[in-house]
């Protein structure tokens, strides 16, 4: 299943992105082409600009350069993004999975009576991620793996053109990670999704990623996992693996 060739129907072009915080350069002329149906993993040491690049793609910060989405079937149009954040503010909250997913994916107010139609739609979508039984659970009580499945379901409702994952697997055990990676591999094939992920699980990146991009303010290495892991830049920073 892994390393499947992309369909090439659509492409997200990230052109010459630069960003400065005051005088400090955070991103310097970063350009990437992300094809649909491919898993692209961004690696780099702390402060290399990984999260900033994601924030630029998400339109959170003002940056130089452009981000274009092009689809052969419907031409140039604005891109639909899905996002799974690193941290959530859900501590001690009485919010259930229905409340959270409903608030982000529907206009039916979640503080009033449950909307049966929305409930059913959410439940069906959660089912694709094996999370349908969690719909009435409190988000603050979910395990790392459960929360991950729920967040993936929310990010893909509706399915986006580009799915952005910011270190989504912190706090998960080996079994959970394996499940997570096989799940995103299935997603990219079934829904022809382009995925950008920040991660440092080299073992899984080697097995599942189509493309690895190593950042250190600019792109210092890119290619297949094997190519990047064998590069001088990678070995100088992370050592041989």
């Amino acid at each position: 299943m892994e390393n499947k060739k992309s369909c090439g129907d659509c492409c997200t072009k990230i052109n010459n992105i630069s960003f400065k915080a005051g005088k400090q350069v955070i991103l310097d002329d970063v350009s990437l082409h992300i094809h649909c149906g491919s898993l692209n993993v961004i690696i780099g040491k702390n402060g290399a600009g990984k999260s900033t690049l994601l924030r630029a793609i998400l339109g959170e910060i003002k940056h130089e350069g452009t981000i274009d989405f092009n689809s052969k079937s419907d031409g140039k149009r604005s891109i639909k993004l899905g996002y799974v954040p690193q941290k959530l503010n859900v501590e001690n909250s009485p919010m259930t999975v229905y409340d959270m997913a409903g608030s982000l994916c529907s206009n039916s107010p979640v503080f009033i009576k449950k909307n049966k139609k929305v409930y059913k739609e959410l439940q069906e979508h959660l089912k694709e991620f094996g999370a349908e039984d969690l719909i009435d659970s409190k988000v603050s009580r979910l395990s790392g793996g459960e929360l991950q499945r729920v967040m993936m379901a929310i990010a893909t409702m509706p399915y986006p053109d580009l799915l952005i994952l910011d270190e989504p697997i912190s706090g998960m055990d080996k079994n959970g990670k394996e499940q997570f990676y096989s799940q995103i591999s299935r997603l990219k094939v079934d829904h022809d999704l382009a995925i950008i992920m920040v991660s440092h699980d080299f073992e899984y990146i080697k097995k599942y990623a189509d493309k690895v991009i190593m950042l250190d303010k600019k792109v210092v290495a890119k290619g297949t996992p094997d190519e990047v892991f064998a590069s001088k830049e990678f070995i100088d920073t992370f050592g041989s693996i």
């Binding site: 998400l58 409340d99 608030s103 206009n107 979640v110």
Partner: protein, 265 residues
């Protein structure tokens, strides 16, 4: 007790204010904004003082305008991440209260200060009840159309943005509503305890609620019950109404806190 017009007005006001406090409080607690709403209360002094300086006869207007500007400014500065949130709020809150006090005490006049410090719900006028009704309608409308977005933003603002939510707009509307409801009620509840009315019912509800529907229901109920009980008890005992309401809310909070401990342990 309802033979007196001022008691009827007070009861009407409580029936409008307390559900609002319960409703708004749910998100003030959820977004960890307790300190923020406290600062808004303190800013009222500056609002009153500025109103006096420029000769606005109705304190409410100067207080409301100042509180809204104060809230938006705090929100904006908060985004710039220059210093930590609590430090920024503390600086603004202290400055606002100090400026207000200096102006108000210029002629050795301290009565205005103590009036607003404790507040008196029995002072409410019928026309003020209409202002309250207007704010009530605004908040309910915003809750129906904006609550989902507000909750999404509280989970993670970037995630909310990726779902097409206008984060800044919704956040600003929310702080403006908090500012409005705090300023409009301060005359009757008092600067000292206004924040407890906002925080306690929601905090108590949070202890026992299993979802957003229960969270809202209990917060609003606790708020209304404390308000009415507080008014009745304070009338028959001849004590101040605001603090009585707060004491009842606190008792409810401690009961729910104990219930939570039992249910978890």
């Amino acid at each position: 007790m309802l033979d007196y017009e001022f008691m009827r007005n007070a009861l009407f006001a409580i029936l409008i204010i307390t559900p609002l406090f319960g409703l708004i409080g749910t998100m003030v607690v959820n977004n960890k904004m307790a300190f923020f709403s406290d600062a808004l209360g303190h800013s009222a002094y500056t609002g009153i003082a500025i109103g006096m300086l420029i000769g606005v006869s109705n304190n409410f207007i100067s207080m409301a305008i100042f509180a809204i500007l104060f809230a938006i400014l705090l929100n904006k500065i908060n985004d710039s991440k220059i210093a930590s949130k609590d430090t920024i709020i503390s600086v603004f809150s202290s400055t606002a209260i100090a400026v207000g006090l200096v102006i108000l005490t210029k002629n050795g006049n301290y009565t205005e200060i103590s009036n607003y410090l404790i507040g008196d719900i029995l002072n409410i006028l019928p026309q003020e009840i209409f202002i309250l009704l207007g704010i009530f309608a605004l908040v309910v409308l915003f809750w129906i159309f904006g609550f989902n977005k507000l909750l999404g933003i509280s989970v993670n603002p970037t995630l909310a943005k990726s779902k097409g939510i206008n984060v800044k707009l919704i956040e600003n509307i929310f702080v403006i509503l908090v500012a409005l409801i705090v300023t409009v009620s301060i005359k009757w509840v008092g600067i000292l305890i206004i924040n407890s009315l906002l925080i306690l019912p929601a905090a108590a509800s949070r202890n026992i609620s299993k979802n957003m529907r229960q969270y809202h229901l209990w917060a609003v109920l606790f708020s209304i019950v404390s308000g009415i009980l507080g008014l009745v008890i304070s009338y028959y005992q001849g004590i101040s109404t605001g603090p009585t309401i707060v004491i009842i809310s606190s008792i409810i909070y401690f009961i729910t806190f104990a219930l939570r401990r039992f249910s978890i342990d």
